[in-house]
Symmetry: C2
Subunit: 146 residues, 2 copies
C-alpha cells in the first residue's frame, strides 16, 4: 500500500531532522499560503524573503515551492523571524512576523543532561509552536505595494 | 499502483522546472556521492560549497540532502561551476569542477523565435550535459585536507 506523505512528513524528510525552527517555518508557510489565496502558475513565481537564516527556510522550499536554487528564497539577515511572501505577477504581498513569546521556545535549555531530556524539551517546544493560537503566534500584514 | 519517483523526477519536482543548470547539478551530485562512497549518519553532515549560485544547487538539496535551511549548502560566489563536498566527521573532500565546453550549453541561444524552438534547444542541452563522457564533463579532485 502506498500512503501519501503528509505536508509535515514531506518537510521533515527534506529537512533531515525535527526541530523547533522547522516547526516555526512549517506554520509560517501554511499561513502564507492561506493568506495569499492564489495558486502559482508556470509564469508566476512566489518569492520568500526571510529576515534571518534558520532551519525554518526549508519549510518554504517544500510547502511554498520557493527553492533556493531557483532564486525564490532570499535572506536579508536582520536576526528577525519576519518573512515576506510575494508573487511576481501580483502586487499583493504578505509579511508574517513571529512573536517574541514564540521565539523563546526556539532555544532548548542548556542544562538538560540526557538525550531523552533534550528530545522531550524539543518535542514540547514543537508542540507549543504548532498549537499556539494564531494571534499569539504571529502578526500578519497584507498589503498591495503598488 | 504506486511508482517510486526516479532521482531525476524527485529533483525536477522539487526544483519546479527542467533546465540545463539543474541537469548539471544532478550530474555533479551523483558523481559526488559515488566519489565520497560513504553514507551520512545522524551525526555526520555533508556540506556543499558552490562557487556560483544557480539552479544546480537544488539538485544537491535533494540528492545530497544538503539543504540551505540546515546550513549544509553554501555559496561562495566566484562565477565558477566548482563544487566542494565535505563530510563533517571525515577529512576527505571532493571538488568537482565542470569544464568550459559543458558550460557553453547552459545558455540557450537568444535568436530562437518560438516556444517549441526554445524547448527543443533546452532538451538538447540537457541531453548533452547528462550524456557527455565524464572526463569531458568535469575534473574531480579528491583529497585529505588533514
Amino acid at each position: 500500500m502506498c500512503i501519501e506523505k503528509t505536508p509535515w512528513e514531506q518537510v521533515i524528510d527534506f529537512h533531515g531532522h525535527t526541530c523547533p525552527e522547522i516547526a516555526l517555518g512549517y506554520r509560517v508557510a501554511q499561513i502564507a499560503m492561506r493568506e495569499l489565496g492564489i495558486k502559482p502558475t508556470p509564469s508566476t513565481e512566489l518569492v520568500v524573503t526571510a529576515q534571518t537564516h534558520s532551519c525554518a527556510l526549508d519549510a518554504f522550499q517544500i510547502l511554498n515551492h520557493a527553492t533556493f536554487g531557483r532564486g525564490a528564497l532570499k535572506v536579508d539577515e536582520n536576526k528577525q523571524h519576519k518573512y515576506l511572501f510575494e508573487y511576481s505577477d501580483t502586487s499583493v504581498r504578505v509579511t508574517i512576523t513571529v512573536l517574541p513569546k514564540i521565539l523563546e521556545h526556539l532555544v532548548i535549555p542548556e542544562n538538560l543532561a540526557t538525550r531523552r531530556e533534550i528530545q522531550n524539551a524539543t518535542l514540547e517546544a514543537i508542540q507549543f509552536i504548532l498549537s499556539s493560537e494564531e494571534n499569539m503566534f504571529c502578526t500578519i500584514q497584507k498589503d498591495d505595494h503598488q
